[in-house]
């Protein structure tokens, strides 16, 4: 198994009442409520948490980015990735990921990622995402071409990493007369690419066709199973077997010394209404053209309140369906075993705390996870044959059917 630590890097130090009065905590919620003094303190605490996670035995640090909202302070995951490349020694730096459509120059992204890979001595996993709907608005990018830009930027980045330059790239959204970056990844054929997602079937199909692992972000167990049914079906049609080394899962999981404490802190996962994206108007989080047309009816009904939010389950329900797992190490292990048995992922992210959970409690949670939860989980993983892409020496992709390895290393 590959076990990662994750935090959204929440900016809890904003006046909550202001958000409630405004009715939103994303996109249009004014940044006059951003507190750079708290921001400076929190960024440094989060860096300490990442270093602690490495110390107590996590295999990877999972990073992401969002824009214009207090639920996530990372505006550029490559910045934290760069810091971690230099200040950690062993963990994989797993970006889940860079929002490709937001990039106007994917070659620059390819360069940044190559630099991170070299500085970290080949520890980069470079995930790519479409970016949330409101991210398109926050960066002025056309949501109607989100998927086109995603696919085209991906093509250009992989080419920039693998094809000897100089070459020319003439796409629909990206035109580069000279692609010849003087920074190439250390890992060959190229750093691993993992694709996280929540809802879009198109992304699952795309990842399966490419042979990239897909990381399900905190979906319900039954929904997760359906994701793997679809992934494995498309994988089989595309000529690979699918299975655990292509499956990742992000689990909200808070561990404390007592059940009461764990449950109290786990309620903070509802800090942003249990959403990834904070509270936003539906047309901000899903601008027209961003979603697949097959969701149009459901979406417009949701946008005007004729349907409830598909992701708006209550805390108690999320405890029951295990979208949130909380307890002491002893009580969470059987729940995690159930998840592993039923959905068989080999990559697991632990979203350990959110909102107002204190620095001390977050550190305790990371330590308990590392010392008391991960070791038995690894045993369960072995028992169930959940070999990570690294353990299984899985190929990087269908296009590059060999494992990623730092140049100069011999197998």
């Amino acid at each position: 198994m590959h076990l990662m630590y994750f935090t959204e890097q929440p900016m809890s130090a904003y006046p909550e009442q202001e958000g409630r009065e405004f009715g939103a905590t994303a996109l249009m919620f004014s940044n006059r409520f951003f507190d750079p003094i708290a921001g400076s303190r929190l960024y440094n605490e989060y860096l300490e948490h990442y270093r602690l996670a490495e110390e107590v035995g996590f295999d990877g640090i999972m990073l992401n980015e969002h824009h214009n909202a207090p639920f996530c302070m990372q505006a550029k995951c490559n910045i934290f990735a760069s810091i971690l490349a230099a200040t950690t020694k062993r963990v994989k730096i797993v970006l889940l990921g860079n929002p490709l459509p937001l990039a106007d120059n994917p070659v620059r992204l390819a360069e940044e990622l190559a630099m991170i890979d070299m500085v970290s001595r080949g520890r980069l996993v470079s995930g790519f995402v479409r970016g949330g709907g409101q991210e398109q608005l926050a960066t002025g990018v056309n949501p109607a071409y989100n998927r086109e830009r995603f696919e085209e930027a991906h093509e250009l980045i992989v080419k920039a990493w693998t094809q000897v330059g100089p070459f020319r790239f003439e796409g629909t959204h990206y035109q580069h007369r000279v692609v010849n970056p003087w920074a190439m990844p250390l890992q060959k054929p190229h750093p691993r690419v993992w694709i996280p997602g929540v809802l879009s079937k198109e992304t699952i199909v795309w990842a399966a066709q490419k042979g990239y692992p897909y990381i399900a972000l905190s979906t319900e167990i039954e929904a997760t199973k359906k994701i793997w049914q679809l992934y494995d079906k498309v994988a089989a049609e595309s000529g690979h077997a699918g299975g655990p080394e292509f499956r990742g899962y992000l689990q909200r999981c808070h561990v404390a010394e007592s059940e009461e404490k764990a449950m109290e802190n786990a309620r903070q996962f509802m800090w942003m209404q249990g959403e990834f994206t904070g509270l936003a108007h539906p047309v901000w989080s899903s601008p027209s053209g961003y979603f697949s047309p097959s969701y149009r009816t459901a979406f417009v009904e949701y946008a005007v309140g004729r349907r409830s939010n598909p992701r708006g389950a209550a805390f108690e329900d999320q405890i029951v369906n295990q979208q949130i797992v909380a307890g002491t190490p002893r009580t969470v292990i059987p729940k995690l075993r159930r998840l592993l048995e039923e959905t068989r992922p080999s990559i697991m992210g632990f979203w350990a705390s959110d909102g107002f959970v204190s620095n001390q409690d977050t550190r305790t949670c990371i330590r308990l996870l590392g010392e008391e939860v991960l070791p038995p989980l690894r045993e369960i993983g072995k028992e169930l044959g959940l070999w990570s892409p690294f353990e299984a020496n899985a190929p990087v992709s269908r296009a590059f059917p060999e494992p990623a390895r730092p140049a100069g290393d011999t197998p």
Binding site: N142, A144, E301, A303
Partner: protein, 264 residues
């Protein structure tokens, strides 16, 4: 004129399967609809059809016209409509074709006029997008729900209720979402204007009438003033107690203004 005299046809024009509704008799009039699309029937359409042969196309990718995936700009739409005028039996070879553009359709009409000023007899721009306001902004529908955006365009909310119902049907919302998606595809950035248009309007010798609702909260009135100033032969006419969707709020007033202007 009764409503059943409208006939619709899908015509291949410049690589686009264009849905065009037609009614009436008299001089040809091309009517270009808003970004939200066009309701199938409106008293305003019928009022125009009393005096003109009205062609009401659905813009490429809007309502009943299929989406050409390659079409990426408002000028592309204007070119498609120039081809329509050159090919359609009602307008082909005629020297008396006028264009009336509503809101977003007004922008398309203005672009058409810059391409071939001599091809049009008269130009009417109603609350037209297309020019960047110097002070305010054109309202950003990306930040508003479908209903809130359309309501913003009405000075009189009861007119909205009469047309769409106080709580519009899901199929109406889907149509608005589809049309909004196509609007984004062709007018996202810069949003709802073309920086070169004010310069090019100087070459439009076509006599033009610029009509503005006194309470348009979607496109600021200063855009109307700029249109009237940039077009060499234009005047600005304000319609009181009307918002952005004048043809839905004050159909008879607008039809009279248009008719009087086109027949002089």
């Amino acid at each position: 004129m009764t409503t059943d005299t409208w006939v619709s046809r899908t015509i291949p024009i410049a690589g686009v399967a264009l849905h065009v509704a037609r009614a009436g008799s008299g001089a040809p009039l091309l009517l270009l609809h808003h970004d939200i699309g066009a309701p199938e029937r409106l008293p305003f359409y019928d009022a125009l059809a009393r005096d003109f042969t009205v062609l009401l196309p659905s813009h490429p990718g809007f309502d009943k016209s299929e989406r050409p995936s390659w079409l990426r700009g408002v000028r592309d739409v204007a070119i498609v409509y120039q081809s329509l005028l050159a090919q359609h039996e009602v307008t082909r070879g005629r020297a008396d074709v006028s264009v009336v553009g509503l809101g977003f359709g007004g922008w398309i009409a203005a672009e058409m006029a810059t391409m071939a000023p001599a091809a049009l007899k008269r130009l009417v721009l109603v609350n037209a997008m297309g020019i960047k306001p110097e002070h305010g902004d054109i309202a950003d529908q990306a930040l508003l729900s479908y209903i809130d955006y359309v309501r913003l365009g009405f000075a009189d909310q009861s007119a909205f209720d009469r047309l769409f119902g106080a709580d519009p049907s899901t199929s109406t919302l889907e149509q608005w979402d589809l049309n909004r998606e196509m609007t984004f595809r062709i007018a996202w950035k810069p949003y709802m204007y073309n920086p070169t248009l004010p310069h090019l309007l100087g070459g439009v010798t076509t006599p033009a009438l610029v009509v503005w609702g006194s309470d348009d909260r979607i496109v600021p009135r200063e855009c109307g003033e700029r249109y009237a100033k940039a077009l060499p032969q234009a005047r600005l006419q304000i319609v009181e107690r009307a918002g952005h969707f004048i043809e839905m709020e004050r159909p008879e007033s607008l039809a009279r203004l248009v008719g009087d202007f086109l027949c002089t």
